[in-house]
């Protein structure tokens, strides 16, 4: 089956992906920071018995080979630094065929159910909830009437739910004061926005994460509706900025668009940052190119963007800037673009 992020999603000119994460802990076990190895093994076995093997692949992370780790990183189940694989014997990862639905054990909280879809699709919540309900019916979940679902990280206590939209905003980023105005708008919804970069990394793209904050004082329904209103605003604003730039500076935009495509299509070596900048310009002008000479679908553009964003290793790492990795990256992009022509 095709990997989840290669499917065609709604509004995928702006929204790369929508994710819903639900965290849960099991009664009778300390939370992860205070769970000893023996208890941890018992926790892993308990969860393993509750996971439906007819749906999920994977298992204990200690059994994963290097290739699986790289694949799961690219599929956005593991973090890019694979830091979640510190102490792999204390972790387990289960994922369905296209990796759009996963259950992570032992990363921060006992259980993290994550559903992901390409583009803009709040249906991810129901997918994640269905699996969370299944686990809640089989396991004794830590819950309090006052605080809701109890978590080690008290900022997640309550619904234990996070919704994340990954968005590419080249036009708002290029608009003076655009990101500041957007940040203000996002905070009015009590959500947050931050650049796509892990801790200690330098943000090197115009890709941002828009994420929910509240897990208390708000129902799941209110949170989802608020998120949908917010993301609708963001999509409209980004498109309006693209239109403004593409029409007011048509010649310059068309020129950079063509050059960017040429660079990606024919470069023999390309850095992560250069590739992401080029992709941003292509995204900005894509719908305004009347020449018809460049044939590139949104789906392909999104796939390349996510492949680069989720390359294992941070952009600050020397390995991702080495000649070999630049050649590897350029070759991968060329092959995808060639296939789309």
């Amino acid at each position: 089956m095709a990997e989840w992020y290669t499917n065609e999603g709604k509004d995928n000119d702006v929204v790369l992906s929508t994710k819903a994460c639900i965290v849960r802990n099991i009664k009778g076990y300390n939370f992860m920071p205070r769970l000893d190895d023996k208890e941890c093994q018992s926790l892993l076995e308990t969860v393993d018995n509750a996971v439906d093997k007819s749906i999920y692949n994977g298992g204990n992370a200690a059994d994963f080979d290097n290739e699986t780790v790289l694949r799961l990183t690219r599929l956005q189940i593991l973090g890019r630094e694979a830091s979640q694989l510190v102490e792999p014997e204390r972790k387990a990862f289960y994922y369905n065929d296209d990796a759009s639905l996963s259950i992570t054990v032992g990363c921060g909280e006992h259980l993290t159910v994550k559903a992901m879809k390409q583009g803009h699709d709040i249906g991810v919540y129901k997918t994640a909830e269905k699996e969370a309900l299944n686990l809640e019916s089989k396991l004794d979940i830590a819950f309090s009437e006052n605080y809701g679902f109890l978590t080690s990280n008290v900022r997640l206590a309550g619904t234990g739910l996070k919704i994340l939209y990954t968005v590419s905003l080249p036009a708002i980023s290029k608009t003076e004061g655009g990101i500041a105005a957007l940040t203000q708008r996002v905070s009015q919804y009590e959500w947050t926005i931050y650049p796509f970069a892990d801790r200690g990394e330098i943000a090197d793209s115009d890709v941002y994460i828009i994420a929910s904050v509240n897990t208390l004082g708000v129902t799941e329904d209110e949170l989802l509706k608020r998120g949908e209103m917010l993301i609708t605003d963001v999509i409209k604003a980004e498109r309006a900025c693209r239109e403004e730039i593409a029409t007011s500076k048509k010649e310059q935009s068309a020129d950079i668009y063509g050059r960017s495509y040429g660079t990606l299509r024919y470069a023999g070596m390309i850095s992560r940052s250069e590739a992401l900048q080029a992709l941003g310009w292509i995204r900005l002008y894509h719908d305004y190119d009347d020449s018809g000479e460049i044939k590139l679908s949104w789906n392909t553009l999104d796939k390349i963007t996510m492949d680069i964003l989720w390359e294992p290793g941070a952009p600050s790492r020397k390995s991702s800037q080495s000649a070999a990795s630049q050649k590897y990256r350029a070759n991968g992009i060329r092959n995808i673009l060639k296939g789309d022509e």
Partner: protein, 225 residues
């Protein structure tokens, strides 16, 4: 934005001290009066710095250092560890560090009451994704409700909030349907007042009370600090 000490919505000025955001009231309680003073206050009271030192000393005597060794009887986590890491070790920690946890929740979310679903019960939600039509394909001039103007700010050199401002248009002529679906936080005070009248006239009392609560909340919030 919220005060990181009490969690209240910041409606007046924002005071940032050592990277922490406070409301007026908390800044005053923390002994940061000097940040609240207008230059004219100092002119009027040349002994202001002395007042401030005295106030800080008073505050220090009220600080409670006794709880820093508080320990969870089940997992052995101390209050200091919790405060450093923001994580607790077990369910019992929620009882042991109850006050500190509530404070932490307020800091982040301005709330500590659970409103979500129960275990093994589905959340009642009908939220769905509606595809937003592309501007180029379907938009007509003047229809788009959100616009960020990239050129305006460069031309005028004004503050960032003016450039690329995200503005709602066509607010006039509010209907019950619009009010029911609206994010109340996005409506102006005037719109809320109009909305209350419209909802009351339509005998939509539940909606009217939501609007009234929102307006009241703003007014109450405006008096804080």
């Amino acid at each position: 934005m919220r005060c990181e000490r009490c969690g209240k919505e910041l409606t007046n000025r924002i005071i940032k001290i050592n990277g922490v955001t406070y409301c007026d009231n908390c800044a005053r309680l923390m002994g940061y009066d000097r940040f609240l003073r207008e230059p004219s206050d100092l002119m009027g009271n040349p002994f202001a710095p002395l007042d401030q030192i005295a106030s800080s000393l008073m505050q220090m005597s009220e600080l409670d250092f006794g709880n820093s060794t508080l320990t969870c009887p089940k997992c052995g986590m101390t209050l200091r560890e919790f405060e450093n890491e923001g994580r607790v070790g077990c369910i019992e920690c929620y009882n042991t560090f109850n006050e500190n946890i509530i404070r932490e929740m307020f800091k982040q979310q301005g709330n500590s009451e659970y409103a979500g679903r129960l275990p093994a019960q589905s959340a009642d939600t009908d939220a769905e994704t509606k595809e937003i039509p592309q501007i180029k394909k379907t938009a007509k001039p003047g229809i788009e409700t959100v616009k960020m103007d990239p050129s305006a700010n460069k031309a005028t050199g004004k503050e960032e909030t003016k450039a690329a401002s995200v503005k709602e248009e066509e607010k006039g002529g509010l209907t019950i349907e619009q009010l029911a679906k609206a994010d109340l936080g996005m409506l102006s005070d005037d719109d809320l007042e109009k909305g209350i009248k419209i909802a009351a006239e339509a005998e939509e009392y539940k909606l009217a009370s939501r609007l009234r609560d929102e307006l009241k909340g703003r007014k109450d919030g405006g008096n804080n600090g």
